[in-house]
Amino acid sequence: MVIIRVVDVEVRYDSVKALDSISFDVFEGEIVAVVGPNGSGKTTLLKIVDGILKPVKGSVYIDMKNVVDIPRKQLAKEVSLVTQSTYVVPGIKVIDFVLTGRRPHIDFMPTRKDIEISLNALKAVKADNLVDRDLTELSSGELQRILIARALAAEPKVLLLDEPTSNLDLRFQIEILNLVKSLSREKSLAVIMSLHDLTQAYRFSDKVIVLKNGRVYTIGRPDEVLTENVIEDVYQVRVRIDRVLKAIIPVV
């Protein structure tokens, strides 16, 4: 079932086109990786799906409803975004932080149910042991898991991750992407994540969108899309793809 439908979207920052003629579908339980060079429009694309930015042309549909017609609070229940940068304020405990993810469901004060759902979100990312820790005490990998738990606490249908593996060492990168994959499968979550690492996009996604200068250069299954020619064209770098290792290796 199609959860996200993006139709002919164009976005401008003043007079500069950030995205142009973007169209694609995302299905329930599907993981989509958005790749492309810096400034190609990856973050802008996520912000469009989350309704943070409004397209000047085209439409985004979540569950067949146009995003511009969905009240902000309702949209926040259906789509959760994990941004690249979050202010980590001292004195905030993990449970308080994850509870903020329940904000779209809370009218006045969090109830016992909100606390339980937040705790379940922490369990889902295997971080319930961190519940009473201060955010500033966490490692980068732990923090990333908590950010995802916060997003899950909203019980969304769509999870948007903006470069979820940046600033993580290799072990945490794999751990986070495995986690995303299992969450997507278990909860039938549609996931769109922007990634820099093409090998990870190759390994962990069901579909890849390659952006170049704000346009979709190509879209499809990772093995169809991430070819040596496409990568050389988009990134201006020659690579070799090792099908056995499932790795994309730059050739200098």
């Binding site: 943070i52 926040a76 304020v89 308080d96 519940v131």
Partner: protein
């Protein structure tokens, strides 16, 4: 369960603070040039023991100060916490918007125009005791409106708000200095200086009613917004992605906090320091979750203000020091300690 332990501990800290405040009230009633013992106050409060008319009158005056301290503390504690959150700045307060200088300018204009009182020799006679607070309040509101309008034009970011406030603050300071330099005599300048000290003793019973309504409305609003404040401290994008319009919350909060601080300043002068220090102390106790931080800041501010006022009454007895002075004397080292501790 760990979570329940965390929440219970915070509730206990809040209850302890309420207990400290309740204990400090009879102490504050007993302190001052006129001697009443702590025990006499307790007996009068809890067993209805009759006191001499003189003692009763003194206690009523002190009770007014104590209640003023609690209400002013509540308003400033909550407003300071809210402003620090929406401006993402640990040194922010409603006075960051430049309210104190604007209110002082209001007092100067009231005196300059003769509305605030006429000067004859060394005597100022007031036509109406409410004129000066009204001028202070109106000028503080005008300043808030100008700053918010300027910040709105610049996109309502936290930086725009602070920069607009700083610019206007200097402008008001210059106007105030100009009026003082060219137009006011020593007595009038002394009055402005005295007014700016901040003193809970000026608050009468009628003003207490207004303060009570303000503190009640403001605390309900800020507690209802507490989850939004948590989100705002994480960044505007994060807040918006969770369904909270950060700019609107920033605007609303600034208006409510400025309104509260303007009312307080009009009645009691400038007690800006309380807004800064009490949220930091409260944070040490209950952390940064605003559901607990807002009420805890209110309690800490109320305790500090009542305690500082009590100290101001006995430290140079029979002279009563304005609470603004004692509070800064106690609070400054405390704030420096807290900052260095971070």
């Amino acid at each position: 369960m760990v979570i329940e332990r965390i929440f219970r501990a915070r509730k206990i800290f809040i209850l302890i603070s309420i207990a400290i405040l309740l204990l400090i009230i009879p102490f504050s009633l007993s302190v001052g040039a006129y001697n009443v013992t702590y025990l006499d106050v307790l007996k009068a409060l809890f067993w209805g023991n009759s006191l001499s008319p003189d003692t009763t009158s003194v206690l009523l005056i002190r009770l007014r100060r104590v209640l003023a301290g609690i209400l002013i503390g509540s308003v400033l504690g909550a407003s300071g916490t809210a402003m620090q959150s929406v401006l993402r700045n640990p040194m922010a307060s409603p006075f960051t918007l430049g309210i104190s200088n604007a209110a002082a300018l209001g007092v100067a204009v009231a005196l300059l125009t003769g509305f605030g009182g006429s000067v004859r020799g060394v005597i100022i006679s007031y036509s109406n005791p409410y004129i000066i607070p009204i001028f202070a309040f109106v000028f503080a509101l005008i300043q808030t409106a100008i700053v918010l309008l300027l910040a709105y034009k610049a996109g309502l970011s936290e930086r725009a708000l602070v920069l607009a406030a700083i610019a206007m603050n200097f402008f008001y300071q210059a106007l105030l200095s100009l009026i003082q330099y060219l137009k006011l005599n020593e007595l009038q300048i002394a009055l402005i200086v005295f007014w700016s000290f901040g003193d809970v003793g000026r608050v009468g019973w009628e003003e207490l009613k207004i303060l009570f309504i303000s503190a009640f409305a403001l605390s309900i609003y800020f507690i209802a917004r507490s989850l939004d404040f948590d989100l705002m401290s994480l960044g505007d994008d994060v807040a918006y992605a969770s369904g909270v319009n950060a700019k609107r919350v920033r605007l609303e909060t600034s208006v409510v906090a400025a309104l509260g601080a303007s009312i307080v300043t009009a009645f009691s002068g400038v007690i800006a320091f309380l807004c800064l220090v009490s949220p930091h102390i409260a944070r040490l106790v209950v952390g940064n979750s605003h559901r607990y931080l807002v009420p805890q800041s209110m309690l800490v501010a109320a305790i500090l203000l009542v305690a500082a006022d009590s100290i101001g009454r006995f430290i140079l007895s029979p002279v009563t020091l304005p609470v603004g002075i004692t509070l800064s004397l106690i609070g400054s080292p405390l704030l420096i300690y807290l900052l260095l501790r971070r």
